[in-house]
Symmetry: D2
Subunit: 363 residues, 4 copies
């Protein structure tokens, strides 16, 4: 389906000027008219960034909570509000809908939006099941509409720099990807720590690592409300690449550190560092002689470290600009429904593996 | 067998003055006469610490490499040397033997030493298989000889402080133990990264966590010499306690960090910190209302942090002093053959699980 | 003049509910009506916090730059704007004026405001000269108006916690205060790095240290635009207390670290730490025997470290609430004109000392 | 006198193979025969490194304390010992003497050694007064003997790398050198914190900065035993280069950090970092327009950071090897008596400035 997914080499993000036309080609005066569903924790960031973009008009925002709409009105008096999601989904003055609601509602809202001819930008994780994801992908394709999943991290300066380093071959063949994403809370009411925190790493891995994930093993435990609050996920990729994610809602300290080991160089990405988020180490190991294991000689290389400067544009701004661009030019996004589906598939497998205490599940 | 192992509450380390008598009760002029096998990487530390202890005389050191023995002679002219291990194992002027050789040789050397009536101090991991460990335990018991496995970390100020905090109930019920032990190299010639690095964490977990490990899941990958260089191990304990170990020979940075989460307090142990190795956080999560998951209220507690002062005596000195004490007073060591066996059992299971890509193996 | 200044023990900040009456006692419907001069770098923070306070109405904002006023209008449509500062200074519907302009304009604007019967909240540093400061203090006193200098740092959780620890005697007698405040830029157009960065530390020292500064020594150098970009200031206090400030516009890294050494305990305040801004060390030195210097015995104490939790309310919010409270209840602020004058006196002396390459200037 | 000292460009350290001849040209069988005075805190390091060098024989060690000599004997049975310093100073089988005693004894011992025709390696600070230093320099020159002051830090990988970066012009013109060297204790019995800790920085500055120090300003305070325990030193160099040293015996944390700012690049040297001691920042400031100060435009540059690998040979080993080389080839050491004198001159001036509360003293 997606050209971007067949060859194990996923597309790159390019941003450009949006020359907008309506989803049906009708004139929209060069403006993409967007409606937003959900103005809770993340919604205000979506609205703020859409609002600031040239070529976009935030037409209407919907939330079930009147207080949220009052807050919005105070900041954006010109945006209309509604508590009725159907009004938004069927509005004729809206070209695209951003869905910023809990995951269990994504499938229903996205399907209605697509059926009403709207482009869709939907929060991660894409859907609650792979079946739901597949249905939405098929529907968007049939209707020729853009479907983008909010894998925000792909648009950070850090991930874009890592991707660039990997594409340029700086790291050499990849050995492993090892991420720790732990902090105290926030506990979710309806999903475990895997569905809450792992989508970030799964989408990043999916974007950075060549080839598709092959199998998943997960372990974890639940201590408070019946949902796992600690979990460890291993994802096997082709060519002996192994990925690991450590997620935890019960850590006294916040950690956001990823080690990426390659044949030529190794990298540490600490997302909590203000200035030196990525450090590239000229370190490595080489087996120089292999005549029987007891004669095996390992030589170590230890050289300079280098912290490239990272662009600090807000990731969501870059991503929403890219959404407008994809809609306008009818481009397939890198973070399309297929990418969302791949992440949901890994989440589903991780959850099942965890229930089976670490069973290895093929993808 | 060991009283220390039945009730899920393992014994404490106490150090005292050694009033020495020979293993057979014969007079040794109040001195424990020790022979050491192996003077490679770790052996010099064993010899140096034994040498400095009152109540101990290092009688003879054996190594296959003449250069190693020359190095020893230069530093300790009074210690006799030999390349013939049998001479050492059968010497009549030796009461105890320290085995500081690769793991594949432990069983043979320890058995010969015990059969010759010597007490044994043996490097970790104890043996290559559980069967070997069980045989040695039985032999030592039958011969009424002390058998101690060098789980050095149990004798560090940090681990003793953590044990004390846990025994005093400061952390409350334990939730998880999560250790990261990664660095660049050193590659071993005959074991993988699990057998090389995980014994530290497994012995610490075994010492700190109440109850015995119930099951193990491990994943990993090998990139260079056929032995796994990256591995992730989950160990399930009773009462929902989950432990995890991340070991890696291919990390550009050295990390030695353990998170320990409890009901009342949480702890970070960073063994690379010079001064504040242990930080205790007055942080926690409480579920305050559980009428259906959507009404579930989670309250967070965030208070002071506290870094207790840690004793900085060299762990190996404390441990060898304890070895002398155990021999002299015929005490069961906390790090006896049983403890060594428990660690070997987890290593064996982790290795098998890894080969089966994460199968959950009962212990 | 100020009761708060005679006895070497400066007042504490207490926050309370504001029952507002007009400066002339006239009815203002319980609202303090504020005008703000200056909407550049810091002005928006003042307006945002005033706007959010109960008991305050931001009536009008003045700036010479029409673009700044447009930005304001977009966010606060209800606030009126003007480019004419005299209109604001003489407005009859304004009770208090916040002056958020470059230091060289403070004296003129504050004098006009006071003469027109307005309470004044003025940016730090208070004025360009001590003479200007003294004139404003006298004028405010005569007119019975509140005059507050924006020493924001006094209202941070960190400084309030340090003050509390010092008042409770936790640190014991003070030995030294040593602050490093360095970063890359921002270069000011009309003052040097001392006038730009040192007011923070000088106001904090003035607040924390008992007794008044007695003398100042400063050194520094200028490399780019004729104003010093690197400077080092020593301030002598009574009872052998020494304070030092290192300010630098040319540092590749940002540092905001203060060491405070006391007889009983010592403290490190790192304002760039997210969670553990203040660490209190149970460390110390005691001279235990002083029979001639060669027999002098020094004993060191090294105990636990403790990081108290710090309140994280925005300092400016607390300060502006306190301003309203001082106006309403006619209270003398801790950061009154006298406090501003003391800081200006130290700045003036530091500048003169620097020109004389480190001459020690009495205060 | 020293060619190395006239042109403001001090010599580089080069190490080479030592082809040894006696100080008087007599045959010594290719061995430099060394006597060591003082086996307290630093002496064992001197002996250990001399002992390990090819081309050197440690003939005799002198200490007033019999226990120290017993310790030495245990480790080096072949070295002879004496409590009588005159025996050592006049021994005919000794070519060079290492003086590792308190500073007040340096002058007397070094003079006696030189008068007896011995080369001298002497601890820093060189002497207690500049007059003493000048006398020793003159004497060594007259006797054609090598005189080296133990400025160990010049031989660390870090300082050699910084020197290399500066010589290659990587930093551009130097702006400032700012060092913090603080910790808890050790209090000295007969000198203040300046004489104890500042010689390190003064010798490094002297080595790195082109041109000679011109003036010194120092402030400080004493809290415990009559000697200053906190001090701040500013040193003025030609071309507007300013250096600053913060030394403190009463800091709860150990800090060893130096900022070096140049026109093109800036550098942070953190000597407590295990792996990334030196970080070079591609950051800078440029004044791009200077038509009156209010139109002055400052542009900032912020690029990559880079941590070059640092050689980790023990500095003292490199230095003592260099000492042997200088003796053998009759080379003028970079850290000769002149270098030692320059440091003593700055120490003397700093002490006097401190007593005069920051008077600026010309050098």
């Amino acid at each position: 389906m997606s050209s971007n997914g067949k060859n194990g080499k996923k597309g790159s993000i390019r941003s450009g000027v949006a020359v907008v036309s309506g989803p049906d080609g009708s004139s929209t005066n060069g403006l993409l008219r967007v409606g937003v569903v959900g103005y809770g924790y993340w919604g205000p960031n979506i609205v703020r960034n859409l609002h600031a973009l040239d070529g976009v008009r935030v037409v209407r925002v919907c939330d079930k909570c009147p207080k949220a709409l009052q807050r919005l009105k105070k900041t954006y008096p010109s945006v209309s509000v509604t508590e009725d999601v159907h009004e938004l989904l069927t509005a004729t003055d809206i070209d695209a809908i951003a869905i910023v609601t809990p995951v269990r509602t994504h499938h229903g809202l996205a399907r209605a939006a697509l059926e009403n001819g709207k482009h869709v930008f939907v929060e991660k994780p894409f859907t609650s099941t792979t079946a739901q994801a597949e249905e939405l992908i098929e529907l968007a394709e049939r209707k020729n509409l853009t479907l983008m999943v909010d894998h925000t991290f792909l648009f950070t300066g850090a991930v874009r720099k890592i991707r660039q380093l990997m594409e340029e071959g700086v790291l050499g063949d990849l050995y492993y990807y090892d991420s720790t994403r732990v902090n105290l809370g926030l506990f979710q009411h309806d999903v475990n720590v895997i569905w809450d925190l792992a989508p970030h790493d799964l989408s990043i891995m999916d974007y950075l690592i060549q080839g598709r994930a092959e199998a998943v093993v997960a372990t974890g435990a639940s201590h408070l409300n019946g949902f796992e609050d600690v979990a460890f996920i291993t994802v096997y990729f082709p060519r002996n690449v192994i990925a690991h994610i450590n997620v935890n809602w019960l850590s006294p300290v916040k950690v956001r550190t990823t080690l990426i080991g390659g044949e030529k160089k190794m990298l540490v990405w600490n997302d909590l560092e203000a200035d030196e988020k990525i450090k590239v180490y000229d370190k490595g190991v080489e087996v120089t002689n292999q005549q029987g294991i007891y004669n095996l000689l390992v030589s170590y290389r230890s050289g300079d470290m280098w912290a490239p400067q990272i662009e600090c544009t807000e990731a969501l701004e870059v991503e929403l600009d890219y959404f407008v661009d994809c809609v306008t030019r009818q481009k397939k996004p890198v973070n399309d429904g297929e990418a969302g589906l791949r992440v949901v598939r890994m989440l589903e497998a991780a959850n099942q593996s965890l229930l089976q205490k670490g069973a290895c599940l093929k993808l």
